[in-house]
Subunit: 168 residues, 2 copies
DNA sequence: TTTAAATAATTCAGGAATGAAATAATTCGG
DNA sequence: CCGAATTATTTCATTCCTGAATTATTTAAA
């Protein structure tokens, strides 16, 4: 049974949160549930249509926006994942001929990773469909509500970063 | 380098999204980035303070709210993860004496999983701190904004579920 | 300049997560 | 009642991801 089938007929954790849960907790559960729902849908679509995965797609997206390529460390920071993870994903994409490691002439410790021409073609095709999916999934919210939601999320994200320094 | 250190000094994917990205896509990237940020913080705190993980905590939370225990399948649906995954997490928690598999007398295919007394104690302690963390992380948003954000997320979640049926 | 510290990338062990296949038990149509 | 389909759980191969250790290179300090 896949996530879609489960999600279709069962309330998730957030939906069942008891009434006396505090506001912050309810907000977090709802945020998490909503994101998980969209994320698993995107993963499934990427798999079905392109036999690829979200991390592969994400790495290619980073490279697509950086035509000169990025170092492994830069990729790690941008994707917010560990360096070891980037090594693995890059290995896989390189095996498939979608990206290429190029030694940096300035610094022999670093590899610059670039999309190959096949990688660029492949990413363009995926990105077009991907955006259609997202519009289909999130576009139902009106423009006004979308903007408001994005704004509130922006404020929340800033809060989260702030809360790192002090108390926690 | 961990996610916290990376996040602290580098804009993430959402922050860098180019201005001409469409609304829906921006919304999704921001939703994803915000959730990832909070999630990795919670994972880190669970690890640091209780040497446990989010999936273990989640499974125990489900059981805490269901004093009669839940079947593996019920856990799988509520946690929105695959059955194989639930088997693994349950195995680990059972090894640690926090949960217990009880054969169902009505149906010999099913196991009911319950928290042991030690599991209940352990979960109570974790839940108290967990809620403090979440309030510290998300509570900075005022009550009004929190409610508004939760409401918008609720609408988005409904949209997402709806978009499953039709085109996409 | 030589050594020490810092940085870039990789490797590795271990926990998650998936989907598919296998096993076992139940239910249902005839 | 019997066999087929369904349901519950586990197992397995694969991918992802982390944090720690390792190797190689660069930078900085003495």
């Amino acid at each position: 049974m896949n996530a879609k089938a489960r999600a279709a007929r069962q309330p998730d954790a957030e939906t069942r949160a008891s009434a006396d849960d505090h506001d912050a907790l309810r907000l977090w559960l709802r945020l998490f549930a909503t994101t998980s729902l969209i994320e698993s849908r995107v993963r499934r679509l990427l798999q079905e249509r392109f036999q690829t995965t979200l991390p592969r797609f994400d790495l290619m997206a980073q490279l697509y926006r950086a035509p000169d390529g990025l170092s492994m460390g830069e990729l790690s920071r941008r994707m917010m994942v560990s360096g070891g993870n980037v090594t693995g994903i890059t290995d896989a994409l390189e095996r498939d001929g979608l990206v290429q490691r190029v030694p940096d002439p300035e610094d022999r410790r670093v590899f610059r990773v670039r999309l190959t021409p096949a990688g660029r073609r492949s990413f363009r095709a995926m990105a077009t469909e991907h955006e259609r999916w997202i519009v289909g999934i999130c576009g139902g919210l009106g423009a006004a509500e979308s903007r408001q939601l994005a704004a509130l999320l922006g404020r929340l994200k800033a809060q989260v970063r702030d809360s790192e320094e002090d108390g926690r």
